[in-house]
Symmetry: C2
Subunit: 654 residues, 2 copies
């Protein structure tokens, strides 16, 4: 007799409640409530092979409501992801376990993305579906044909980023994206209606989704709804009416069981209600076997796919770009020629324009790069001719019109990078890094290879005024671990920054780029000096009395200040500091040499001082901003805020 | 013959296009497109008196699409806001003018909130409407009875925060809030459908709003729609179908005229099309007169209101709290007693609990405080018994269930503060400061008196793992200008921090508070030492060999490290640093004394090092985090990441 799917779902419920009980923290409410939906999804629909977690053509399953992590860990264990042993389940939320409080990608096999910060799993999944659609267009359905499934809760759908995600997905008609909404009317503070009375069904429809409501505990109806979802011409949302903590006896349906650890007596009552008498952290053999066979269900399809890749004339390119994630052999040939020519020709322009010129070299050479902008294409210089708009129905275009959706854009980029096969970059104004910051951080935590182009990087933005002028954004981005923050000074540094960013495999990057023109400063292209983070741009004429450290548009100003100081008989060196984080990674001797031992050290950056002491010392001089900017032409602003070559020379002289 | 309202609208159009033309930057597309709607709104509906921009019972007008600032400046000039002279219009976007690129509150009379970062004007206006509803409940309709009107564009409605704003407003049935959607199907990158095909009408309906679509150039129909809006029992959205750059001759309706400066010839053509032959920056007398009379329309009502305030038995309290925004005379009496008792009783608890205890003292004493949480009430310790839920129909409650809407919550708090009469505070986890950061920043720029309670302020959060553990958030918040970032160490510092935060009138605050218990450290309550930002908590026994700087939960750890060092014969002082920004404001001599001259300086904070050099010097020792956290019980995390008393003592010894 085949094992009842209800029993299979109960296995999830019991593991979830007992792991939370043992850890004395965590959430069993959602895993128990969504166990039936997950059982049907994994049992009959999800394309996966537990023995090959990195199979490129697997379906992606995203638990956007990441606090329900035990749902996912239960599934990974039960379907036979080897690393996720019962021991790991028992060690839920403990140091060194594969079962942290929220799912973490690259930490636990089978976890596709790190979730927990609400709404972002959903927004990330939009990027996964976007990558799939693009790669299917490029490589064909034999190689790329999979779906993205998301479980999201009330909290995810309250977050603003959910709006950006669903309206973008609706606009792009991402028909292989399905959201399973855990519609249990419960949030931490109580029943969800305490804070939300919106009609989610109508809302998704308004955004261009196909929507269905289903009893989330009726396996037959769930299956019918999932089948329906696979046949729509647009993204799909299934509102699954569930009881939180379903199966937890007296706590079933109780809003307060959301992040609640059941008492011993409640565990006993729940087990009795489910008729579950196996010892804690054991699963009866027949149920375990049924689940293991689910985990192997995709093996045949996976082998067929491997054969298809081997047979395809695009197989080698697919393996390089999608399976291995390697750059083309000649990725940087044109870029390096461009750098050499820039050293020669000394182009004077805004660094955003220099970044655009670098992209002109890179886009034809690296076909997996996918660009875009949050409605600032012309300002961000992110579009290269011939990329084509990314859009339905064929998705072969490489430029995404993200709309005014900075957060959703950054999260979608994370999803693309995690999906693999594409290298996403996109643009907005640096001031609006604050809008996308939570996704920038999550990308850093997830080691996602994405590049954030952020232009108009200081008061140099000018007339738009303080709301649009970054003052603290460079500092605050530097604060995020595992993120490279570049602020290049000219065409050479801009191109070098792109090269370094593209060479990273586990670290995202931010390019801080100017609106306004800035002088050319680099005289040599013998090696990529941005890769060192900081370097002596110009030595002192004589024994150095002063060192000036600068980034971006202020490097030219530092060079001018040096002229003044040299003329005053003060030998001065200039150090360009395009990337703090890379400088930190250099050997101590190199760092010491670059910092130097000039008795006077000055830094200049059109932003706040925070952290510059590491270059200039506790009592070093800093020329920059101490508060918000103002609205005026940029030359006037630099003068009024005292960020000038004269001010730098003056600071050095004091 | 009365002046045609079309001509009055044309005055806005001409001033807008000519100011943009003169500045050579800015946006005339929206001002010209929405000139008719604005003329009807200001002409017939908006309750205001141009001679009294700060009249407490005026309607609030919010230009959420702040790039269309010339619409607002034209209106302020034409209706007779004295400061907004024609000279200011001519100096649009110039240094020192009252007409910056985007509207700035406290800079230009008549500007209610700083807008430009899209979506936030709308979200801020929700807070204004919330404050109005509450104050009307408290003081009655004689004293408080006004509406909030918002102009929002496609960009505003694409931003995620718009979702949080409209779903919150819908849930709270804020019937005196009306959004006028400039439905011109245009964004910077081209026609809006390039990135958005959502149905805004259906979307607002799904969120519980009443919605109407209207021809945005038909004054009669606009008036009918505005009248309809005033009669609904829920918030209202009017989709105004407009042509961008209406009246700009060849550019009328052209998406590329969004942020475009008209050529001289196009100005000539536009003037011809409008039949406008007045000299540049002049308005024909009859039209100017008609507008001036609009500006005086509210004077009679305003005088009646002044009489009502004078006659009301609540008039004195209303004047204190709402008109003057002063704290009650005895605001801190209970708090100070509580501080004295804490010094005596040395309570050991989490600082979030200490914050909750401080609120227990403050909430009864300061009736204008309005609290809330983004669905983490129990964790944030933000609810004090007896506050009552803020909700329809009577809005007298003082605790807002914001739902999982961190960004919308922070923006709504800004709106409440700008409205005046209430002091908003609310809670979330510190890690999610990243979600609300753009509103925290805007609040700082706007000098809004709001208090962000941010609990679970380090790896001390424990099992939830790295997504929920702030590592860089304290540093990145410290980077924002005009923001006080508090990280109190115990019950005394927590209460002192609340006192200082409430004493600010032009600076918002963030309270970084622990999940985990931490020792009591303060031995004296003779003065509010948090107000100094940093202070010597314990002197060295002997001439100081070591100074340890610490914040929050790590102060207890610094005290323990001192014990170790003293026992090793190394006299050690401990400096508590609850607020960097306040320390910066102290006299140099005080700062020098607190930093001291011990040869060894160590800082300990369970976050990143960035900026600590200002306390410990370039080569000082820092004990803290260098990357993301992990999921485990907090004691284990502190040990694994090496943030212990022993590690601090060790660092000092090296």
């Amino acid at each position: 007799m085949p094992v009842s799917p209800i029993k299979m779902a109960d296995a999830i419920r019991v593991l979830s409640m007992e792991a939370v009980h043992k850890a004395k923290s965590g959430h069993q409410g959602m895993p128990m409530g969504m166990a039936d939906v997950a059982t049907v999804l994994f049992g009959k629909f999800l394309k996966f092979d537990a023995s090959k977690p990195d199979w490129a053509d697997r379906d992606r399953f995203v638990l956007s409501a990441g606090h329900g992590s035990m749902l996912l860990y239960s599934l990974l264990h039960l379907t036979g992801y080897k690393a996720v042993t019962m021991k790991e389940i028992e060690n839920f939320r403990q140091w060194g376990s594969l079962t942290p409080g929220h799912p973490e990608v690259h930490h636990t096999p089978g976890v596709e993305t790190t979730t927990g910060p609400l709404g972002q799993g959903l927004a990330t999944s939009v990027g996964m579906a976007m990558a799939e659609a693009h790669l299917a267009a490029v490589y064909g359905k034999d190689l790329v044909d999979h779906r993205t499934w998301v479980i999201a809760g009330d909290g995810c759908l309250m977050e603003g980023v959910s709006h950006e995600a669903i309206s973008l997905a609706g606009r792009l008609k991402l028909s292989k994206l399905t959201v399973l909404f855990d519609d249990n009317n419960t949030t931490i503070d109580g029943v969800a209606t305490i804070a939300e009375t919106g009609d989610q069904v109508a809302r998704f429809k308004a955004a261009g989704w196909a929507v269905k409501v289903v009893d989330g505990h009726d396996h037959g109806k769930i299956a019918a709804a999932l089948r329906w979802a696979t046949k729509q011409d647009r993204p799909t949302m299934i509102a699954c009416k569930t009881l939180i903590s379903k199966g937890a006896g007296p706590k079933e349906g109780d809003p307060h069981s959301h992040g609640y650890t059941l008492f011993d007596s409640e565990i006993v009552a729940a087990r009795a209600a489910m008729g579950w008498d196996a010892a804690p952290f054991t699963v009866p053999d027949d149920i375990a076997k049924a689940w293991k066979s689910v985990g192997r269900r995709g093996a045949r399809v996976r082998k067929g796919w491997e054969a298809a890749v081997a047979a395809s004339d695009k197989g080698a390119e697919f393996t390089r770009a999608v399976v291995k994630g390697q750059l083309p052999a000649d990725a940087f040939a044109k870029l390096e020629a461009h750098i050499a020519s820039a050293v020669e020709n000394k182009p004077v322009n805004a660094t955003r324009v220099h970044s655009g010129s670098a992209l002109d070299q890179l886009i034809p050479a690296i076909p997996e790069m996918i660009g875009g902008s949050a409605d600032l294409t012309g300002s961000n210089n992110t579009l290269v001719k011939g990329m084509g708009a990314y859009d339905a129905p064929d998705y072969a275009g490489r430029y995404v019109h993200y709309g005014v959706r900075e957060f959703g854009m950054a999260a979608a980029m994370n999803g693309m990078a995690l999906h693999g096969g594409v290298i996403p970059y996109s643009g907005t104004f640096l001031a609006f890094a604050d809008y996308s910051r939570a996704a920038i951080r999550l990308g850093a935590l997830m080691q996602a290879k994405v590049i954030h182009v952020m232009t108009h990087d200081s008061i140099g933005l000018g007339e738009d005024g303080p709301t649009h002028q970054p003052v603290e954004q460079v500092a605050s981005l530097r604060a995020i671990p595992n993120l490279l923050v570049f602020r290049p000074a000219d065409a050479v540094e801009a191109a070098e920054a792109w090269q370094v960013a593209l060479q990273q495999n586990t670290t995202p990057s931010v390019m801080c780029l100017s609106r306004q023109k800035t002088p050319h400063v680099r005289t040599s292209a013998s090696e990529n000096l941005v890769a060192k983070g900081a370097y002596e741009l110009i030595a002192a004429d004589g024994e150095a009395a002063v060192t000036i450290f600068a980034t971006g548009t202020e490097v030219g100003l530092a060079v001018a200040a040096r002229e003044i100081l040299q003329s005053q008989g003060k030998p001065t060196r200039v150090v360009s500091v395009p990337c703090w984080e890379l400088f930190d990674q250099q050997p101590a001797a190199y760092r010491k040499a670059v910092i130097g031992d000039a008795p006077v050290r000055v830094a200049v950056e059109a932003g706040i001082r925070q952290g510059w002491e590491r270059f200039i010392g506790e009592d070093g001089k800093f020329v920059g901003m101490t508060g918000f900017g103002a609205s005026a032409p940029f030359e006037r602003l630099y003068k009024e805020f005292g960020i000038t070559a004269e001010a730098v020379a003056q600071a050095a002289a004091e």
